[in-house]
Amino acid sequence: MAENVTLARPYAEAAFQLAKGSSLAIWSSALGSMAAVAGTAEMQECVDNPKLQPDQLTQLIVGVAGNDLSVEQQNFVRVLVDNDRINVLPEIAQIFDELKNTHEGVRDANVESAFSMDDTAIKSLVADLERKFQCKIKATVKVVPELIGGVRIAIGDEVIDASVRGKLAAMATALKN
C-alpha cells in the first residue's frame, strides 16, 4: 500500500513541467481549487459512485472548480479520473506548491508567536530567517497563547523552537532521563 504522497508525486511533477511553460501561479490556484473540491465529502461520494461515467465526473469537477480552467488543466483532471486518482488531488496540490517554491527560491514559514507581532518585528524576523536559510521566506504568523512566550518557527521539517513552552518541554525530557 503506497502512500498518497508517493502516488501524487508523478502527477505533481508532470503538472509542474507543463506549468513552467505557461504560468505557475495560475496552475497553483487551479490545483488549489481542484483539491478543495476533491476534498469535500460530496465529491468523495461522487468519486465512489459507480454509476457516474468518467466523462460525467470530469465535467462535474471542472464545473465546480470553475470555468476558467485551461484545456490542459481539464485534461489533467481527465487523466486523474481515468486513473482513479482524484482522491490524491490535495497531495498533488501540496507537492506542486513545494516544487513551485523551490523553483522560485521561496520557502514557507509558519511562525507561531505567543503574542501578536507588529510588522517591523515580522520583517526583522523574516530577514533573519532569509539570511539563515539563504532563500526568500513567505511567513504566515499565527498567535498561539499556549507557547507562553517567544516564537516557534516551522520551515518545512525544520523547526526552530524559541518558545518558553518548548524550553519547559526540553527541561522535562532532560530531567526524566
Binding site: E3, E158, A162, K167
Partner: protein, 513 residues
C-alpha cells in the same frame, strides 16, 4: 519504588539543570502517520539519519530504521501505547547510547541500560554508542590466552580462548544456559568481567540465573542485560548490541570480558518481526535479507585487541596491555535441525561450536556435548598447557569409542585391544560428566585427565568413576596441596610434578579399594 534518597535526587536534578542546554535549536520534526505493534511511520523528518534516535512525546524514544522517499519507518523503544497518529516526532541527532563502566557490575539492566533490579541509580560516568564498528585487522591480536570454562569436557576438547567466539548450540532443554552460566561462575578471580544478555527469555528464568550467579558470588563481576519475552521486539533486538557495548568498555581498557548472548535465535525472531512490520521483503524462513549481518556485525565485535588499540582507546593511559571480549552466543535449534537458516549463519560466523544433544542429555551425559562434531577452531593455541598435554587422549579415546560402540553391539566376542578401547571409552565418557555449578580448577582437571590417561581408572567400575574422581580430588587437596598449587600456578606439568603426581595416584589407588 524503594529507598528514595532525597539528597541524592536533588543533587541529580541540580547537576542536570546545570548541564542543560536551553538555547533555541533547529530541529527536524515530523508527524506520526501510523502506529503498528511498536513500528511507527513518520511523515517529514527530511534530515533524519539511519539509526538515529527519535524523540516521541511522553519521554519515549525510537530508532529510525527505514528511510523512504515520503516517510520514515521507526521502531519505538519501550512502551508505545501512548503514541498516536498526528503526534510530533523530533530528531535528536544522536545514536542510541547505553551506560558503560564498572558501575554496572553486579547490576541487572534492561536493553537501554536502565537498572531494573531495584538497587537504585547506576551512577555511571560514561555512556557509549550501541552500534559500533568492530576493530579492524591491524588492531587485532591472535587469541592465545585461555578462558577456562571449568567443565572438563569443554576445556579438554573444545578449548575457548580470550577473544574467541564459541557457539553453544542445541535443542531446548539440553543445558545450553547451564554451560554458559558455569563458565561465568568459573571466571571468579580470573580477572574476566562477564556480561549475560538474556533475550526473549521468561523473566522467571532470568531471575533464576541472577540468583544462581549471586549464590556463587559471580554477580559482583557480572552485568546482566535482560530483554525478557514481555519486552518489545525492539528491546530484544537491541539488547545484544547494548551488552556488547558494555563489554567493549572493558576490552578497550586492556581488560578481559566474556559475553553470553542467550539466545540469538530469539533476537533473530525479534528482528524478523520488526522487519516484517517495516514491510521489508521477507526471504528464507521469512527472515529479512540482512539477518546474517545482524549477527556477523555483533560477533565481529568480540575480539582480542592489541596494545596499540588499548592505548588509542584510553588516550595513552593504559600501556602495554591487550584487551579481549570473548563471546559465547547461544542458538536454540528445533528438533536438532542445525541446517536451518539462523543456525547455519551463526555456525559460519563463529570460531567453533559446542553441540549439545538431547539424546546425550537424556542418557545422563551432562554436559550433553557431542564430542564428535563440537570444535574450536582457534582455541587450541590458547589452551592451558597442562590440559592440552593431557586432554589429547580424551578426544582420541572418545573418537575410537564411538567408532567401536556401534560395531560392538553386534559382535559377541571381541579381541583384547578392542575390548580395552571400549572399556576406556566408557570410562572417559563417564568421567566427562560433571554436575552443574561445580566448575573445576585447572589442577583438579589435570589430575582427573592424568588418572584416566595413565589407566588408573581402568579397573574402577564405570558407575563409580565420578565417586572415584571426587575422592581423588579430596585426597589431592588434603595430602598434596603443594603439588596441586604448583600445577595451578604454572599451568603446566613438568617431569618432577608428573612423577610426584604418579606417585600420589598410586598411593591413592591403594587406599581406594
Amino acid at each position: 519504588m524503594s529507598n528514595l534518597n532525597p539528597s541524592e535526587i536533588s543533587d541529580l536534578i541540580k547537576s542536570r539543570i546545570q548541564n542543560m542546554q536551553l538555547a533555541a535549536t533547529t530541529r527536524n520534526e515530523g508527524t506520526v502517520v501510523s502506529v503498528t505493534d511498536g513500528i511507527v511511520r513518520v511523515h517529514g523528518l527530511a534530515d533524519v539519519m539511519q539509526g538515529e534516535m527519535l524523540e516521541f512525546p511522553g519521554n519515549t524514544f525510537g530508532l529510525a530504521l527505514n528511510l523512504e522517499r515520503d516517510s520514515v519507518g521507526a521502531v519505538v523503544l519501550g512502551e508505545y501505547e501512548h503514541i498516536s497518529e498526528g503526534d510530533t516526532v523530533k530528531c535528536t541527532g544522536r545514536i542510541l547510547e547505553v551506560p558503560v563502566g564498572p558501575e554496572l557490575l553486579g547490576r541487572v539492566v534492561n536493553a537501554l541500560g536502565e537498572p531494573i533490579d531495584g538497587k537504585g541509580p547506576l551512577n555511571n560516568k560514561l555512556t557509549d554508542k550501541v552500534e559500533k564498528v568492530a576493530p579492524g585487522v591491524i588492531w587485532r591480536k591472535s587469541v592465545d590466552q585461555p578462558v577456562q570454562s571449568g567443565l572438563k569436557a569443554i576445556d579438554a576438547m573444545v578449548p575457548v580462548g580470550r577473544g574467541q567466539r564459541e557457539l553453544i548450540i542445541g535443542d531446548r532443554q539440553t543445558g545450553k544456559t547451564a554451560v554458559a552460566v558455569d563458565t561465568i561462575i568459573n571466571q571468579k578471580g580470573q580477572g574476566v568481567f562477564c556480561i549475560y544478555v538474556a533475550i526473549g527469555q521468561k523473566a522467571s528464568t532470568v531471575a533464576n540465573v541472577v540468583r544462581k550467579l549471586e549464590e556463587h558470588g559471580a554477580l559482583e563481576y557480572t552485568i546482566v542485560v535482560a530483554a525478557t519475552a514481555s519486552d518489545s521486539a525492539a528491546m530484544q533486538y537491541i539488547a545484544p548490541y547494548a551488552g556488547c557495548t558494555m563489554g567493549e568498555y572493558f576490552r578497550d581498557r586492556g581488560q578481559d570480558a566474556l559475553i553470553v548472548y542467550d539466545d540469538l535465535t530469539k533476537q533473530a525472531w525479534a528482528y524478523r518481526q520488526i522487519s516484517l512490520l517495516l514491510r521489508r521483503p521477507p526471504g528464507r524462513e521469512a527472515y529479512p535479507g540482512d539477518v546474517f549481518y545482524i549477527h556477523s556485525r555483533l560477533l565481529e565485535r568480540a575480539a582480542r585487541v592489541s596494545e596499540a588499540w588499548v592505548e588509542k582507546c584510553t588516550n595513552g593511559e593504559v600501556k602495554g596491555k591487550t584487551g579481549s571480549l570473548t563471546a559465547l552466543p547461544v542458538i536454540e535449534t528445533q528438533a536438532g535441525d542445525v541446517s536451518a537458516f539462523v543456525p547455519t549463519n551463526v555456525i559460519s560466523i563463529t570460531d567453533g561450536q559446542i553441540f549439545l544433544e538431547s539424546d546425550l542429555f537424556n542418557a545422563g551425559i551432562r554436559p550433553a556435548m557431542n564430542a564428535g562434531i563440537s570444535v574450536s577452531r582457534v582455541g587450541g593455541a590458547a589452551q592451558t598447557k597442562v590440559i592440552k598435554k593431557l586432554g589429547g587422549g580424551v578426544r582420541l579415546a572418545l573418537a575410537q569409542y564411538r567408532e567401536l560402540a556401534a560395531f560392538a553391539q553386534f559382535a559377541s566376542d571381541l579381541d583384547e585391544a578392542t575390548r580395552k578401547q571400549l572399556e576406556r571409552g566408557r570410562r572417559v565418557t563417564e568421567l566427562m560428566k560433571q554436575l552443574q555449578y561445580a566448575p573445576l580448577n585447572i589442577a583438579d582437571m589435570a589430575v582427573s585427565l592424568y588418572a584416566s590417561n595413565e589407566g588408573f581408572m581402568d579397573d574402577v567400575d564405570v558407575p563409580k568413576i565420578l565417586a572415584f574422581e571426587s575422592a581423588l580430588h579430596q585426597y589431592m587437596k588434603q595430602k598434596h596441596a603443594d603439588l596441586m598449587n604448583t600445577i595451578e600456578m604454572t599451568k603446566d606439568l613438568n617431569k618432577d610434578a608428573e612423577a610426584a603426581l604418579k606417585a600420589a595416584l598410586t598411593e591413592f589407588k591403594k587406599s581406594w579399594a
